[in-house]
Symmetry: C2
Subunit: 142 residues, 2 copies
């Protein structure tokens, strides 16, 4: 469901969350842990910096670290940077934007809208913290 890139980003973010609040973590280390191409991950992490999720430090003892504690970073912040359509709350119709709209809804509009809403809410309400430590901090949702 996630693109490869978004999945890499999420796994890297989880790794950063696990190690938070230790000092910067090198791309090399994360890439080795996750078995993800080093240079590719480097670009992805840089995107997360631009997205305001983590910060980077260059030079010796450099690397990446989260800018906020994991319980204050929502998955939408990570995933939305790479799969914007997936987490957007705009209710795209199943049959595409032109085929129907909220004004002139297709027959499955409401049913599909409900499913979409579940997906969107998951990414908006789930924090990195939950992926790392688990727990039932949020309403069950299923």
């Amino acid at each position: 469901m996630l693109s490869q890139t978004a999945e890499y980003a999420l796994r890297a973010a989880v790794r950063l969350a696990e190690l938070h609040p230790e000092g910067p973590i090198r791309v090399d280390d994360i890439a080795a842990d996750l078995r993800v191409p080093r240079n590719y991950l480097s670009k992805i992490l840089h995107s997360l910096v631009k997205a305001g999720v983590c910060a980077s430090t260059r030079g010796p003892h450099g690397g990446f670290q989260l800018v906020r504690p994991p319980d204050q970073i929502r998955l939408v912040e990570v995933v939305g940077e790479f799969d914007p359509a997936l987490v957007s709350s705009e209710r795209a119709c199943l049959l595409g934007r032109e085929a129907c709209s909220d004004e002139d809804p297709c027959a499955a509009h409401e049913r599909w809208g409900g499913v979409r809403q579940r997906v969107t809410s998951f990414f908006e309400e789930t924090t990195l913290d939950l992926l790392v430590r688990g727990g039932a901090a949020l309403p069950a949702g299923n």
Copy 2:
């Protein structure tokens, strides 16, 4: 959320359902209605034939038609041919197959599994008929 191809397929299937049980409908007509590339749609419809959703007839008065009434064709049959991962009931973890498993689940396994289940169920329980005619034949689900 659907790939372009799966969306074309679904829209074409809905069009066929609207016209069911009239005789074969030409690709040209469907493509014009849906504003979808003709030859591309031709290939997609051919895939639907292989998937057992519709049948094709060549030559004059030829075209495509559903092999069953729309209330007996589930969306999974149409979409699954093009986006198999989306409709698969295999519970892929959010973080990827290697990162966690049902045996050694990540902390969000259950939460994400529930969301995935909603999506899967939608495609398995919704029929083409519902997209065309609407109605509340199935349990609300949201």
